[in-house]
């Protein structure tokens, strides 16, 4: 039996405000709240709420046969909580139907997986906690920001206990292999990989209302029949996209919601089911392993160059991640929160010369300048906590002592207990 796996991603960066170098040391608030509110409200009205209503209706009318997964970045969740709590309520309603799964991802939608594994692990945990707290279920499936994935990242996630990872269909890696199967990690076969079907996903996300496109108009019938016509062995068709595709990029007038609503009917007609990522990897056997020696992503270039491909991005990222340990050490809550927000991938994508998708800056240089000014202030604050005069190694040594203290105490106590009991026996 064939299955469609729908997954929608919600992420909105908290954009930085105009921050000049003479603000460094004077102003420690970095965000453009007005813009954030306006943007998130726009998304909510045009996309999230109508789309949630549509999905709720689809679940109802298909008697729970329709299923789909969501991932909402921690940064986006915070903005929703602040500016559009009704969306959180609406997702909680969806969660109650049992036909919806929420995935884990790095809280800040960051590139931590590429720069600092500890930070990455911490952020995924932080996000999983948040999801559990909001929607009552701890995620077992995970995806990295922008579907960035490599064998190394897979291994980290597997060690964390995740069984399912969502990845991009990258031609260089898959070759002739079809995305419509379950795969596994080369050395950790327990870790299952689901591959996005680019064609089917982008047909909806990018091409749906494009009149110049040969397949226009895309009807639900046409969409489902493509899946029905696929060879029998193919098990799972992963249709994944940013949630904004529904209603924001593809306007309601294009018929996107009606299209979606009709999909379950046609699917049932062709006896095609719907499946959630975590179910899919339980239900379906992995056919082969996939090995990613270099990190890949769902950006158009399929690699990570749009975030760390040029000198500006290298400098910004290396200066940012140079202080990870120090930030972890401190207990300053606002500082730690800024630390997360400054890691959001979008900050770096705005610095790309080739593809600065979604930017509000006039040039990558302006994006970089603004970010570095903010970062300079942030680094000053980190410095105030742990002066740079202390070498990293020294700090590490101190860190280790502190971190190991508890462990050591526990071990020693254990030993005392043992000795005591031995003594008593005697």
């Amino acid at each position: 039996m064939k299955n469609i796996c729908f997954y929608f991603e919600i992420h909105q960066p908290l954009r930085l405000k105009r921050y000049r170098f003479f603000d460094i040391g004077q102003d420690h608030y970095y965000y453009d709240d007005f813009q954030a509110e306006e943007r998130i409200r726009g998304m909510v009205e045009q996309s999230y709420l109508p789309a949630n209503r549509t999905i709720a209706e689809m679940i109802r009318s298909s008697n729970g046969k329709f299923k789909c997964a969501f991932s909402i970045s921690g940064v986006a969740l915070e903005q929703l909580e602040q500016y559009a709590p009704e969306v959180i309520d609406s997702f909680q309603e969806l969660a109650k139907t049992g036909s919806v799964e929420f995935l884990a991802e790095p809280y800040a939608h960051s590139l931590a997986s590429l720069y600092n594994t500890d930070e990455f692990v911490e952020q995924v945990n932080l996000h999983a906690d948040k999801i559990e707290q909001l929607f009552g279920k701890r995620p077992t499936a995970v995806h990295n920001s922008e579907l960035i994935y490599s064998d190394e990242i897979g291994e980290v996630l597997q060690k964390m206990g995740y069984k399912t990872v969502l990845i991009e269909q990258v031609k260089d890696v898959l070759g002739w292999k079809s995305p419509n199967y379950v795969y596994h990690h080369p050395s950790n076969p327990k870790l299952k990989l689901l591959v996005r079907n680019n064609k089917l996903s982008d047909d909806i996300a990018f091409r749906f209302s494009n009149r110049a496109w040969a397949d226009f108009p895309l009807t639900s019938e046409k969409f489902v029949s493509r899946i029905a016509e696929a060879s029998d062995g193919e098990q799972i068709f992963n249709v994944w996209m940013g949630y904004e595709a529904l209603g924001f990029y593809q306007h309601p007038e294009s018929g996107i919601f009606e299209f979606l609503k009709a999909v379950p009917f046609h699917a049932i007609e062709h006896s095609i089911g719907f499946v959630l990522p975590s179910e899919a990897t339980k239900k379906l056997e992995a056919v082969d392993s996939l090995s990613f020696t270099h990190p890949t992503s769902w950006a158009e270039s399929k690699d990570i160059s749009v975030w760390n491909g040029n000198d500006l991005q290298h400098e910004a990222l290396s200066k940012l991640y140079a202080v990870s340990e120090r930030v972890h050490l401190c207990n300053d809550k606002p500082l730690q929160h800024d630390w997360l927000l400054l890691q959001t991938t979008d900050n770096f994508r705005y610095m790309s010369h080739s593809d600065s998708f979604g930017t509000h800056y006039v040039s990558p240089y302006e994006a970089f300048t603004n970010y570095m000014n903010v970062l300079a202030d942030f680094l000053d604050r980190v410095d105030a906590q742990y002066p740079t005069t202390i070498e990293n190694e020294e700090l590490n040594a101190l860190l280790k002592t502190i971190n190991n203290q508890e462990k050591e105490i526990a071990e020693l106590e254990e030993e005392i207990k043992k000795l005591k009991s031995r003594k008593e026996k005697k």
Partner: protein
């Protein structure tokens, strides 16, 4: 395709950007196989590069018939023009210009500069143009800048050949709105009569359409380009303790020098290892020295004076940042020159070259905060400097006069109906 061009300057003896642009454009166009260019300037010095076009000096063209021997002519102007050509051109005198003061050869002495009697010189240039109109063979007339519009117009009236005028600047740029009516009149007449108008930027195009009331359909932008710099490797930046931020150009209202001083003041409030240089001269220089002193930054603010020839490139190459905060700049070639020697540039949106450059920082000329921020960013973040330097160099090396020449050729084809 034969073009008769009227210009005012031609390298190596140039006074402003017009000469550089004339040279670059004609050189770029000469790469087209069937392109023949005759370039008229008021006063050649004889050392102009004529390998790719023919230069005629207006000061050697007779406008009043005088009887002279071949030897006499050879003695007088033989170095610059062949006597046969003189006699041949003399046959083109069809009108009575005896009202104009001429020398023994019947020629007019042009200064070739921008003298006080500029208007008179412009009209004398017209007289020369009439002689050329009768003798030379050409398909299209091309006039560079307002000084030569009357000449072009006159040739068009005589021959009926299509006239293209090339607007390198308008009086609105030079005067910040307070135009000289005489100049405006000359400009407007030229534009009205021209078959097509070429502007060096969309900014200028907009001025031509809005202030000179021209039909947008006959105004086309052809952005300037830049000649590859010879011996570029000889410009090596010397290591310095302090970063150097440079303003280079006429210190006049049009160039926005006061914004540079204010931006410098902002930067110096925070970082001390930066020096600011205002090279050039002009009527606002004293005011700028005063302003720098008033802001208390005179110890970090320097006025080395007017720079000549290779000093310009040397100064740009030794800088860490080049700033051009022009209030109104039709094109502005100097940021491209800075990029050629690997110096990051900050330019105003009100500069025409901003339309074609990506790897520069653009701000509004009045936005001293943005300008200061950009300076700070370039001098503090190595990757900012490196990116602008490397990508800027790559970018500027791809801005070629050949491509600009092709666009001009399209316009020639259009107005002549030749393909």
């Amino acid at each position: 395709m034969k073009a008769l061009m009227f210009g005012w300057e031609f390298p190596p003896h140039i006074l402003g950007g017009l000469g550089t642009a004339s040279y670059g454009l004609t050189k770029g166009m000469s790469l087209q196989q069937d392109m023949e260019i005759t370039f008229v300037i008021p006063k050649p010095h004889g050392d102009e590069d004529q390998s790719f076009l023919k230069i005629i000096g207006a000061c050697n063209v007779p406008v009043v018939w005088k009887d002279n021997t071949w030897e006499h002519v050879n003695n007088r102007i033989g170095k610059i023009m062949h006597p046969d050509e003189y006699f041949w051109l003399r046959n083109g005198i069809k009108y009575d210009f005896t009202r104009i003061f001429t020398n023994d050869l019947g020629c007019i002495d042009f200064s070739g500069r921008y003298p006080d009697n500029l208007i008179e010189e412009i009209s004398n240039y017209e007289a020369v143009a009439s002689v050329l109109a009768h003798q030379l063979e050409f398909d299209v007339i091309h006039s560079h800048d307002w000084l030569t519009y009357p000449a072009g117009v006159f040739v068009k009236r005589i021959t009926g050949k299509p006239l293209v005028i090339h607007v390198h600047a308008t009086d609105f740029d030079r005067s910040r709105g307070k135009v000289n009516p005489t100049v405006y009149n000359i400009e407007k007449t030229g534009m009205d009569i021209a078959d097509h108008i070429i502007t060096v930027s969309n900014l200028t195009r907009k001025i031509v359409i809005e202030k000179y009331h021209q039909d947008p359909r006959k105004v086309t932008t052809v952005h300037n380009a830049v000649e590859p710099l010879e011996h570029v490797e000889s410009f090596v930046k010397k290591p310095r303790k302090d970063k150097v931020v440079t303003f280079l150009g006429r210190i006049t209202m049009q160039k926005g020098p006061e914004y540079f001083v204010e931006a410098a003041h902002r930067v110096l409030q925070r970082s001390k290892n930066v020096r600011f240089v205002m090279a050039g001269s002009g009527d606002m220089m004293d005011a700028m020295i005063d302003l720098a002193a008033k802001r208390g930054i005179a110890d970090r603010f320097h006025f080395p004076g007017f720079q000549r020839g290779s000093e310009v490139h040397e100064m740009l190459a030794q800088s860490d940042v080049y700033i051009m905060p022009s209030v109104s700049e039709p094109f502005g070639i100097s940021p491209l020159e800075a990029m050629q020697v690997g110096t990051p540039s900050i330019i105003s949106y009100q500069s025409g070259c901003a339309e074609i450059l990506t790897h520069v920082i653009k701000t509004d000329y009045w936005d001293i905060d943005a300008m200061a921020d950009a300076v700070y960013s370039i001098v503090t973040n190595p990757s900012m400097y490196k990116s602008l330097r490397e990508l800027g160099l790559e970018e500027v090396n791809n801005i070629k006069w050949y491509d600009a020449g092709l666009k001009v050729r399209d316009i020639y084809n259009l107005v002549t109906g030749m393909h």
